[in-house]
Symmetry: none
Subunit: 223 residues, 2 copies
DNA sequence: AAATCGGTTTAATTTGTTTTTAATCGGTTG
DNA sequence: CAACCGATTAAAAACAAATTAAACCGATTT
C-alpha cells in the first residue's frame, strides 16, 4: 500500500492484517516503487496524490514490470476523467474516498480470486477468436461452421492454440506433435500447416497462422 | 446484459455496440438465464432489481455454471450491504447508478484484460528505453510501433540488448550470433548493424546503437 | 487375400525471402 | 593526402517455405 496520510495508512494496514493479508506500507511514490522493485506482491493499493511520484506513474511502473500484479486506486479524486486515467495507467479497480472498509475488502477478494484462477480450467474447450476447439468431442469450428480435422491436424492445431501468440519452431512442433527428434530431412510439418491453413483459413475472412521465416509459425488472432 | 428498464438497456446496448462489443439483452431474470444457458459469453452486466429472478440469484446461477464469465452489477442499490451481497454472489465489479457511461467502458476493459490473460505466464520481454522485444512472439516495437525483424536481425538485436551499455566487438558478435570464428574477410556484421539501424533508429527520435571505432558497437539508451 | 479407403509421409517443384558478398562511398586520423 | 575503418548499396547466392502430386501404410471391406 502506498498512502501518504499516515492515519489512513495505519488503519487500513491494521484492518487488512486482521483479514489475514500481509501488508507493506510506503508513504511516498519513490518509497513505494522501491518496495515493488525489491519484493513480489499480489496486489497494490495506491493513492494518487503522493509525494515524489504520483499514483498514476507508480501504476504504470508496476504494469511495465509485471502485468499480473493487481492494482487498486484509492483516492479522493472522483471525476470520471480521474477514473479513466487511473484505469489507463493499468488499474484493476478504482475506489473513491471516503469508502467503507468492508467494500475495500470484498473488492480485494473479488480481484484476488481472479489472480491464481486459470481461466478455462474447468472446461475442455480452447478458443482463439472465433475458432473453437472441443477437446472432448474433438470438434473444431470457426464462425460457427464445423471443420472436420484428422487426428494429426487436430493435434497440431491444439499445439498451436496452447501456444497462441508464441512463435513455435519446427523443432518444437516435431518434438511435441510428432515425437520425433531434430530431423531436417522431413517436411511433414510444412505440409500439415498447409493442410490446416486450407481448412481453417481458406473460406474465412482472417488469417490465423503466420509464418516467421527462419523462426517458425505463430497462431494469433488478427486484432 | 440483463436490465428491465428498456430505455437504459437500449442506450447501453447502443453505446457498447459503438465500442465494438457484441451485446445481447434480456429484460427479466429468467430470460437472462436462458440467454446464458444457451450462449457463450465473456461478460455479464446485471441489474439487481429484476422481474422473475433477481440479479443476485442470476449471478449465482452464472457462477455455478461458469467461473470464467465476468459479472458486473449495475444497480441503484448503493449500501455497503448491497455491494457485499453482490460480490458474494460472485460479481467482479459493482457500479452504482447513476454512473458515467465512460466509466462502465473502462471498467469492462479492465476486467476483460484479465479474462484471457494467463496469470504467471511470465511474458519474456526485454526492454531498453522505449524499445521492447518480446521473446515469445518475436515481436519488437519502439514507441508502441511494431517493427518486423528477420531472424538474424532479431538475434543480433537480442544480443545487443542482453549486453546493453557494454561495447561488444565484432568477434563477440560473430561468435555469439553467427557461430563463426574470427573471419576478417566478411562484413556481414556491419551490414546487419546497418539493417538494424534503419529499422530501429531511422524514423525515431533517438539513437540506440553507437559505434566505438576500433572496438565494436554498444547499444544504449540516450539519457 | 486382394482391393479400397482415409490418412500420413515423402519427394519434387515453384515461389518468395533472407543472408551474404562485394564494390563503392565517406569520413577520420596519422 | 593517403591509409584505414566503417557505412551504404545493389546484386548474387543461399535458404526457407508453399504447393502439388504421388507413394506409402494400416485398417477395413470385399
Amino acid at each position: 500500500m502506498v498512502e501518504d496520510e499516515k492515519k489512513i495508512a495505519e488503519s487500513l494496514r491494521k484492518g487488512l492484517s486482521e483479514q489475514h493479508y500481509e501488508v507493506d506500507v510506503a508513504y511516498d511514490g519513490i518509497a513505494g516503487r522501491k518496495l515493488f522493485d525489491s519484493n513480489s506482491y499480489d496486489l497494490a493499493i495506491l493513492d494518487i496524490n503522493l509525494p515524489l511520484l504520483n499514483g498514476y506513474e507508480l501504476a504504470r511502473h508496476i504494469r511495465s514490470y509485471n502485468e499480473d500484479i493487481l492494482v487498486i486506486m484509492l483516492t479522493a479524486m472522483n471525476t470520471t476523467e480521474d477514473k479513466i486515467e487511473g484505469f489507463e495507467a493499468g488499474a484493476d479497480d478504482y475506489i473513491v474516498k471516503p469508502f467503507d472498509f468492508q467494500e475495500l475488502v470484498v473488492r480485494i477478494r473479488a480481484l484476488l480470486k481472479r489472480l491464481h484462477h486459470q481461466p478455462g480450467a474447468g472446461t475442455n474447450i480452447l478458443r482463439v477468436g472465433d475458432l473453437i476447439m472441443n477437446l472432448d468431442s474433438k470438434e473444431v469450428s470457426r464462425e460457427g461452421r464445423n471443420i472436420p480435422l484428422t487426428a494429426k491436424e487436430f493435434q497440431l492445431l491444439e499445439y498451436f492454440i496452447r501456444n497462441k501468440n508464441k512463435v513455435v519452431s519446427r523443432i518444437d512442433i516435431a518434438l511435441n506433435v510428432w515425437d520425433i527428434d531434430f530431423d531436417t530431412k522431413t517436411n511433414v510439418i510444412d505440409v500439415y500447416v498447409n493442410f490446416l491453413r486450407k481448412k481453417i483459413e481458406k473460406d474465412f475472412s482472417s488469417k490465423l497462422i503466420y509464418t516467421q521465416v527462419g523462426m517458425g509459425y505463430v497462431l494469433k488472432e488478427t486484432p
